[in-house]
Structures are given as C-alpha cells and as structure tokens.
C-alpha cells in the first residue's frame, strides 16, 4: 500500500495514532483497593479488588505493568466475533465490517501488555491480523478503481487505515481534479497571480488533507 511502507508520508506516525487510541475506555479488574481518581478527562474508580471498572487505556496499561489489575478484553475481541467479522470482510467486497475505530491500536496494546488476560491469544492475534490484511487489501483495490471522483467515502474505516491512506487519497484526488479541469484549477503557486476564476458555477472545493 502506498503509505504503509513509508511512515513519512502519513500524517501521523503509528505511535501517534496509538497515543490517541489510549484515551479509549476499557474495563479492568483491579486487585487492589484505591480511591477514585479525578482527572481532567473524568473520574475513574473507586477501585475495589475483583470488581470491574472502566478506565482509559493508558491507565489500564500503567496499572497492568505494575501488576495491579487484569484487563478484560473488549467484547468484540472474542474469537467468535472476530471469526464472524473476518468472514464478513471476505464476503462483502465493498463494505467494511463495524469494528472499533481504534481496533488496531487497542489490540496491539493488549497484545503487548496484557497477553495473559486474552483467552486464545494466538488465535485472536492471527484473526485480527487477517482482518487487517483483508481490509487493507480491500482499501487498495477500491482505490485502484476510483477515478474522477471528487470525494471518496469509505464507511467504517479505522484510525490506522485512514491514517495510512489519507495522504495518498488526498493527493490523488487533487491530481484527478487538476487533470479533469486543468483550466479551472489554478496551481497553488499561481493562485496568488490573480488569475480569474472560471465562470463555471461549480463551487470551489477546498481539498482537505
């Protein structure tokens, strides 16, 4: 895939995307007693042994590293659900299955820090990798097909996937746009040169990166 191999092209690095994903909430089962924590992002706890509670991912990982809790893998991370999702991905060529926006990052974090809390860890891991590959492949093939459109709509794309394809799609769209109506679009450098806008009623679309 275009941006996959080259991290410099993507807008954010994988680490940055992961950092953003760490704000997602996840359920943990603490094994210690602690008063509620009051953060800017909200109040978490109280922490009572063996009673599940919701905390941000980063806190869960921090506690897990200190052996103070067990992380409960989210519901979608079960072998059955992932098998179903994988089948769905393979069956439908166009659409993407519904998965959490940060599924790649969350699963990565859990695989790194909470291997013992995930039942059938290897199965889950390979399933998620398969799903990711299938989805990326689908994105690639759908990008191969797009032409001449002014916008691309792909629902249910996840953060990591968007991050990878966004620069490419943005530039590709710009290029298409330019080639389609070369006279209409002033080059960015020449935009200041006061070239008149074409009397075409088409509104000018600022291309987003």
């Amino acid at each position: 895939m275009a941006g996959q191999s080259d991290p410099h092209i993507s807008l954010f690095s994988a680490e940055e995307v992961e950092f953003m994903a760490e704000d997602e909430l996840i359920e943990i089962v603490p094994n210690m007693r602690m008063d509620p924590l009051n953060f800017i992002c909200g109040d978490f706890g109280p922490f009572l042994p063996q009673i599940a509670t919701q905390v941000p991912m980063w806190l869960a990982v921090a506690l897990k590293k200190r052996g103070k809790c067990a992380i409960r893998p989210p519901l979608w991370m079960s072998v059955e659900n992932l098998t179903k999702v994988l089948e769905g991905e393979r069956d439908s060529q166009g659409a993407f299955q519904v998965l959490p926006f940060h599924y790649v990052e969350i699963s990565r974090l859990l695989f790194d820090h909470a291997r013992d809390d995930i039942p059938d860890m290897y199965m889950v891991r390979s399933l998620i990798e398969d799903i990711r590959d299938v989805r990326v492949h689908k994105v690639e093939t759908s990008l191969e097909k797009f032409s001449g459109t002014s916008a691309v709509k792909i629902p249910n794309l996840s953060a990591m996937e968007v991050n990878i394809i966004r620069p490419f799609v943005g530039r590709a769209l710009q290029a298409f746009y330019k080639h389609d109506n070369p006279e209409k679009i002033p080059d960015v450098d020449r935009a200041s040169s006061g070239q008149t806008r074409v009397a075409n009623n088409e509104p000018r679309r600022p291309l987003r990166r």
Binding site: R33, Q50, I51, A52, R72
Partner: protein, 951 residues
C-alpha cells in the same frame, strides 16, 4: 403457545456425530440416570443439585445404548455396544453382574412390572427374556427381521411389545412366548442410523400401545386386538423418534427428528405445548412425582423441563391409574373410572402433596373436564371408541379375572413405593463449590479472598489467594494429605476440615494463622467417631460443628474453649468478628419440600446468644449462602434467589432485600459472595452453571438491593424501594448509635452518617410526594409529609402543593407543619430547666420558627383577605415581615428575656388556635400579630423596634 427455552447441561461428551442417549428417573425422582452410546460411562445425577458432579459408573467398554431401572428402583441395568448387559445396585451404583451377553450390540432393555424379568434385545436375532434373580434365560423370542430397537412390557404383565428398525411391531404373549400380532411397516424405517431408535410404549393403564407412525404421528393400538385406535397428529414435520407417557397417562411427550418436543393431551388428541431444541432429543422421561420432563439430546446434553403441563390443567402425576382398569362396560367407562380415580387420589395423596396444592378441589373439576373432552372429541372418533370397547368387553373380562389377584398385590406394592420424602439439605460451607475431577474448586470464596483446592492421586493442592494483593498477606500454597473439603478464611487465618473416610482417615480440623510471632503456630484437632460438618472463623476464635451436633469453639491458639450441644444437624455456619451464626435443621422437611431451619447467633467473647429463630426460606428452596454483610448484619440466600437480611426491627426479623427472579436477565444465575448496606456482590454465572469456576478468575458484579415490592398504582417502585432502604439503614444506624452511646463511645461519625441518610431520605420522600401529587394520591402525599424529618422539606412540600394548585393539600401540609412545631415546643418546654442560657437560646429559636410558620399562615390568609381589605401594601409586606422577624429576633435576645415564658405560651396557643387568635389577650401583649393581619402588616415594617418596645 408460549415458547420457552430450556437450557441443557452436558452429561456426556458428545462425539461429533449424533449418538443415542438415554435418560431415566428413579421412582422417587431423587436421581436422574443418563447414558450415551458414544461413551462407556453411566451418570447418576442429583436433580436437586444439578451442578454437583454425577456419580459415574464405568463398567462398559463401549457406548451405553440402553438403560432400564427396575420398577422399585433398586436395580439398574444397562446394555452396551460391547454386547453385554450389566446389572447394578441402585442408587449406589455397585456393579452386580454381567447378566447376559449378545453377539452384537444391545439396543433395548426393559423390566417387567414386578422387576422379576428383564427383556434385552439388539442387533442380534431374538429378544432374550432373563430372570433377574438367577440370570437364567427364560425365553428367546425370535421373529424380527431387523435389529430390535424398542421393547415394552405391558403394565398388566401379559404381553411384551417390540419394534425393530424397519418398522415392524410384534405383540408377544409372555405366558407362551407366541407371537400374537405382527404389524408390518407401521413405523418408520430408521435405516442404519443407530442414533435413531424406533420405540414404543404402553399407556400406564396398559390399554393402549403407542407407536410412531409413518405420517409424523403417533398411532395408538389397542391392547388386546392390536387395532388402530387413533392417532396424535400435529405439528411434527418429521418422524417421531421418542415418546413418553405421563405417569397418569393423560399426557404424552413426543420428540421428533425436527428437533422439537410436543406435549399432547391424549384425551383431547391435541398438543398443548411445545419446545424447540438445538439438537434432536433422543430420550425423555416424565418425573414420576411432579410436573417435569427430563430430556436428553443426541449430543449428550440433558435438562429438566419444569412445569410442562400448564398449571391450569391436571398435573401429569395426578390419578395415576392402577395397572388393571375395571372397565367392563364401554358405557360406564367414565363414571366407574372416576370413582376409582377418586379413591386413588385420596390414597395417593402422600405422593402428590406439594405437587398440586389444590388437590382437594380437584376431583369434581376433573370430572367436568373429562366430560368436556368427550364432547370436544370428534363425533366419529367417539363412536368408534365406544364400539370398540363394547366388542372387547367379553375378552377383557376373562383376562382381568385371571389377573386380579396378582395385580392387586402389585398395586399395593407400587403405592407404598410412591411415598415421596423430600431430602433434608446437607451441610455446606458458604462460598464453596462442588469438587470437579481434574479442576480446581473453591473451598471458600468471600469478599476477602479465596481458598482453592485441586485433587491429585494421593493428595490435594491448596492455594489461598487474597483479592487485594497489595495488602493481603501472601500465603504459600500447601499440600494437603487429609483431603480437606471445608474451609473458611478471614484476614487472620484459615481453618480447614475434612470428613472422615473410613477408620484410617479420621476427621481433622486444622487452623493456619497467616501471621504469628511464634513458629509452628498452626494446630490440628482429630475427632474420633465424630465428623466435622461445618467450620467458621471469627476474630479470635474457630468454630466447628460436628456430626454429633456439637458446637466446638477454639481460640485461635488452639485452646479448646467451649463445647455446646446444638438442637439438630447443622446446615452451615458463619463467623464475623465476635459473632458466630449457625443454621441447623429443626425437623425433617415438610412434605411440601420445605426445609425447616433454625438459626442462632452467638457472641463468643461475651458468651451470649443475642438471637435465635426460624430461618425463612422461599417454599421449595434450600439455603445456598449464609453469612454477614460488611456491616455485620446476618444474611441468607436461597436457591430460588431470594436474599434476606436479618434486622432487629419487629423483634428480630428477616427482610427480603433482593430477588433474583426480579433482577434476572435471561439465563443468569447469581452466586452470592457478600453484600454491604446497598449492594449485593455476586458472581454472575451463565445458565446452566450455578457456580463459578476457579479459572478464569471470577469477577464480582454489583447488584442493587431491592425489596420485592408489589407494583403499585403510583409506578414509582424505584423511589419506594429507596425509601424503604433508607428507612432500614436509618434504623440500623440509630441502633448502632444507641449501642455506642451506651458504651460511652463517640458517635459523631455515625451521627453524620445518620444525618446524610436523613437528608437523602427527605429528598426521596419529596420526590415521592411530587409523584403522589401528580398521580392524585393526596392521602398518601400527606402521609409522606408526616415522614419528612426537616421542616425545610415540609415547607418545600407546601410550596410544591401550592405550585401544583392543590390548595387543600397545601392546607393539610400546613397543619402537619404546625403540629410538628407544636410538639417540638412541648418537648423543649419539658426540657426547659436544664440550663438557663440554653433554655433561652432554644426558646428563642423555637419562637422564631413558630413565628415564621404562623407568619406564613397569616400570609396566606392575608392573601385571601387582601381582596376585601384593599390593602395592596399588605401583600408585599408579608414576606419582608418574616425576614424582619427572623433577623431581628436572634440579634436581640435580651430584649425578649423577660418575656420568654409568656411568649412560649403565646406560640402554643397560637398554633393551636389561629382562628381564635384575636380573642386571646396574649397576642397583643407579645405584639405577635394577633390582630387582623391587615393592621399588623401596615405598621410592622415601618417600625421594626415596635416589638421590643411593646414588650
């Protein structure tokens, strides 16, 4: 029709393929026996405790294809693919003998009515009739051309019916061994699939033989003539593979290859209920006493379908017919049988008790039902039946005469066997799970931690874990050569005990402290001729209750301190600090299957017994958990999911504080671990599991406590529940305050807590008042206002009522407020001569309060009068006046000092009789607005010092 889903529990590891499984009830419904043709083991389950592991009999070398239980439930026989038929003692399960062998797999077994003869058949040619006493083969019946898959002895002992896999039914006469009738091709040909076995079954009265038909139906054949009587045809879309008559023969359960079970009312020839399953049900058995059906599917999963027959209909065990029916005349058929049925239901009432509480009123209504059913019947069918009966009369008479004597005897025998005795609950440890082979199980699980054990060949391995790993002590795992099955855990130590197993392995009690200054401070006690049944652990003591009904109390150092005798066999015990609670049986269970339990609370350090009494349980349930809340309240949880907490209200009572049936989401069981004042801590287990596994580590779920409130017309159950809970907490706290005050301790924190709860309670009541007002329940609203604890809230309520335009209600609220203030001043008055200064201040406050109240009142009357008096200023003056008074009074207490006594009286009178105010002389002297409000209002604000000067 209602669709319920029935959860099945695995009894046998199903192979990937479907395999024929069998299921049986014993006579008293104490046991369920299952077997699978893919597994060599036979399991004997306890239907009361389905989570307990079954007793497993492994004597066969290959899958067990057939099971049969002798009619008196003392002898179990099994047939297997390994070609052998074995006999076992029942319910013990001791192997007795290989009673016969075949050259090919066995497919069917059947005992005759007396249990003296066993018929066995299978892929071999010929049905063997075996004497069960000596194992001799009485006869070999040859005639089938395919593997025999079903055998049924006629209940009257004359015939044997058999069916083979190609669908041929043969009636055999037992006396001679002759073939009476051969019905070829009447049942479906099941081919070579051994997971489908054609079966057939006699009705309990022996009059009809049910055989699966070719059109996805059941065909009934006559007993004597083998003529087709009628069929049960309905919604089965595939051939029927199993059927079972209810014990009274009024209903029939059929299962089909289409994976559903239909329940039929046989008289009406109509299906009354159905159930769909994931897999094909290959065997079913009606509970001999009760309205339930045990089922097992081809994957080896079994379950018990409770209340199969709707409660509006007759119980399937009512009027169990005698094996010999008396009908000598087709026309008299119904009346005669009714008489007999009545006799039977009287005599059989012992067995029926508890199954249908309305037994007394049944016979007449049943009669009606029966007649109705005749009318309901197809006219044609009806005539047909009657004709049939008439033609058969002669033949039957003869037969019955021959059989009369013997079957009478049998009937007596069977009746005595039918007496059903519910079992007394066995002793258990709260928070323990039953042992499972090859897996860890909990000996103790509480809010603090858990003790788990796993059994190896010679020894067990015990681990103690604390939930809170940061503060709990770290306890090394230990190897247990005693085989401990009971344990209890608290923060100081753990206690273990094992039952005695023979003479060599005596019952032992072991205490293991977690931290001690001395080495080797764990200790052992051995019991000779005595067995520990339950253990409990408290602050500084260890208690064990033994089979001799002794309560033995030890110090944590191991000193034998007390031995008490208890009233009955122990059920369980729990400890909390100084308190020990013990549950014992008072007497045998009631016939309606209610455990009779008693609890006692002991205070070990003081040597007192603060409470004892009956332990209430939901009817038909047993105790599953017993312990203390985090605050030290005694609580219990029963198998029907009702949590009760003991309170000293009403002289010591149990309050139902949680009901699983109200809470339960589909298919969840709650395994209680503990509770605090407002929450229940439990482990949620998905059906059919009723207890958690050690791994993965169970996670506690918090559930709110809630009274099982009836749904009221107000629709505010949540608020009402909060109201009651707050009341409960308040009374508990007040009790604790009293206790602490008696001991001379500081009660400030508790006072604060009580205040918080009171405030919360006022908020809750206030919301209830609001919903009462909206729901037009004014009387209830006034009752609620009386319960408010702070005057401010009462004022709020008055405002609310005014805002909602309910002047009558507001008036009432006002009266309540006045009464309250009045009683308060009276209280103050009585406590006057305490100290001079105190008195002054208090009186002052009270005065200002009373004033504001009356002021407000005056305010309202003023509003009414305003229109007449044309005094606009008065309206505005009202509130400011109040303010004036309130601010002014406390600021100059000395001014009022001399007048204090007087003024108090004023208030009293005033609040009592505001209407006659003006006539009262004190009003003027106190300057307290005794006059017409208009006048007063006009001059009051203008000269705030008037009052003091007037005094």
């Amino acid at each position: 029709m209602k669709i319920k889903s029935l959860k099945l529990r695995e009894a046998h590891k199903g192979s990937a393929n479907a395999s024929f499984c069998s299921i049986l009830w014993d006579l008293n419904a104490h046991h369920l026996v299952t077997a699978s043709s893919s597994e060599p083991s036979i399991s004997i389950h306890d239907p009361l405790l389905p989570s307990n592991p079954p007793r497993v009999l492994r004597h066969h070398r290959d899958g067990v294809t057939a099971l049969a239980l002798s009619p008196n439930s003392t002898c179990l026989s099994s047939g297997s693919i390994d070609h052998s038929v074995k006999l076992y003692k029942f319910p013990g399960g001791e192997f007795e003998t290989n009673i016969t062998r075949f050259t090919l797999p066995i497919r069917a077994l059947a005992f005759n009515k007396s249990g003296s003869m066993l018929a066995a058949a299978g892929d071999d040619e010929g049905i063997k009739l075996i004497n069960t006493i000596d194992g001799s083969i009485a006869r070999v019946l040859k005639g089938h051309r395919g593997p025999v898959t079903g055998l049924a002895f006629d209940p009257n002992g004359e015939y044997l019916a058999s069916i083979d896999s190609i669908g041929t039914v043969i009636y055999w006469e037992l006396q001679s061994g002759r073939t009476l009738y051969t019905l070829k091709g009447v049942a479906p040909d099941t081919g070579s699939d051994t997971s489908i076995l054609n079966v057939l079954s006699w009705s309990p009265d022996g009059e009809t033989l049910a055989v699966p038909g070719l059109k996805n139906d059941i065909v009934m054949y006559d007993r004597d003539t083998a003529e087709k009587l009628f069929t049960l045809r309905g919604d089965h879309t595939q051939p029927i593979c199993f059927m079972s008559w209810s014990p009274n023969g009024k209903y029939m359960a059929t299962s089909s290859l289409d994976k559903q079970i239909l329940i039929w009312d046989v008289n009406r020839k109509q299906d009354i209920d159905r159930q769909k399953f994931d897999n094909r049900i290959c065997c079913m058995a009606w509970k001999p006493i009760g309205n339930a059906l045990a089922v097992i599917d081809v994957m080896g999963k079994y379950g018990v379908w409770e209340s199969v027959v709707p409660s509006s209909m007759k119980s399937p065990t009512e009027d169990i017919p005698s094996s010999r029916s008396k009908n000598s005349n087709g026309l008299l058929f119904f009346d005669e049988e009714d008489e007999e049925d009545q006799e039977l239901s009287m005599s059989g009432s012992l067995s029926d008790l508890g199954e249908d509480s309305h037994g007394e009123s049944e016979p007449p209504s049943r009669k009606r039902l029966r007649k109705q059913s005749v009318i309901d019947d197809d006219q044609h069918e009806d005539v047909y039946n009657e004709l049939n009966l008439c033609t058969k009369t002669e033949y039957r008479k003869k037969v019955h005469r021959i059989n009369k004597e013997s079957s009478d005897k049998e009937r007596d025998g069977s009746r005595s066997m039918m007496t059903f005795r519910p079992k007394m609950q066995e002793a258990f440890q709260p928070g323990s799970t039953p042992p499972q082979p090859g897996k860890r199980n909990f000996l103790c699980y509480n809010m603090l931690g858990s003790i788990t054990t796993i059994k190896h060949d010679e020894y067990s391995h015990i681990e103690i874990d604390f939930h809170d790993t940061s503060t709990g002590p770290r306890v090394p795992p230990m190897t247990d050569y005693y085989g401990f099955t009971m344990a209890s855990l608290n923060e100081n130590g753990s206690v273990f005990a094992n039952p005695c197993k023979g003479e060599k392995n005596m019952s032992t009690l072991m205490y293991r402290p977690f931290s001690s200054w001395a080495n080797n401070s764990e200790w052992y006690m051995r019991f000779e001729g005595e067995e520990v049944k339950a253990v409990a652990l408290g602050g500084t003591w260890v208690a064990a209750v033994t089979s001799l009904n002794f309560l033995r109390i030890y110090t944590d150092g191991g000193l034998q301190k007390h031995i008490l005798s208890l009233n009955g066999p122990v059920v369980t015990a729990a400890g909390f600090k100084d308190e020990l609670a013990i549950v014992t049986h008072i007497s045998d269970c009631l016939p309606s299957n209610e455990q009779m339990l008693e609890f006692r609370i002991f205070n070990i350090s003081k040597g007192t017994q603060p409470f004892k009494g009956h332990l209430p349980l939901t009817p038909g349930s047993y105790l599953t958990w017993f312990g203390f809340t985090e605050e030290g309240q005694l609580s219990s949880y029963d198998s029907k999911g009702v949590l009760r907490v003991f309170t000293s209200q009403y002289g010591g009572n149990w309050l139902p504080l949680f009901s699983a049936s109200k809470e339960r989401k589909s298919g969840e069981n709650y395994w209680v671990v503990g509770l605090n004042a407002s929450k229940l801590f439990c482990i949620v287990c998905k059906n059919p599991d009723s207890f958690p596994q050690v791994l993965p580590k169970p996670v506690l779920t918090l559930l709110n406590l809630s009274f099982p409130l009836a749904s009221s017309d107000l629709g505010e159950e949540a608020l009402e529940n909060e109201f009651m809970l707050n009341n409960l907490h308040l009374s508990q706290i007040q009790k604790r305050i009293e206790v602490m005050a008696d001991e001379g301790l500081d009660t400030t924190p508790l006072d604060d807590e009580a205040f918080d709860i009171e405030a919360a309670q006022d908020r809750c009541i206030f919301r209830l008042i609001a919903s009462c007002c909206n729901g037009d329940k004014l009387v209830r609203a006034t009752e609620l206002v009386k319960l408010l604890s702070v005057e401010k809230s009462v004022r709020g309520a008055i405002q609310l009522a005014t805002a909602l335009k309910l002047p009558i209600l507001a008036e009432r609220f006002n009266n309540i407020l006045e009464e309250r203030l009045q009683s308060k001043t009276e209280v103050l008055k009585t406590s006057l001569p305490r100290s001079k200064h105190d008195r002054n201040v208090k009186a002052d406050v009270a005065a200002s309060m009373a004033l504001t109240a009356t002021e407000r009142n005056g305010d309202q009357t003023a509003c009414l009068e305003d229109s007449r008096e044309v005094n606009d200023a008065g309206k505005n003056a009202g509130p400011s006046q109040v303010k004036n008074l309130q601010t002014q009074r406390p600021s100059n207490p000395f001014l009022k000092l001399p007048n204090n006594q007087e003024e108090k009286k004023v208030e009293e009178v005033m609040s009592e009789s505001q209407s006659q105010g003006p006539s009262n002389p004190f009003f003027k002297s106190s300057n307290k607005v005794g006059e017409a409000t208009g006048i007063q209002q006009s001059h009051r604000p203008s000269n705030p010092f008037l009052k003091s000067t007037a005094k």
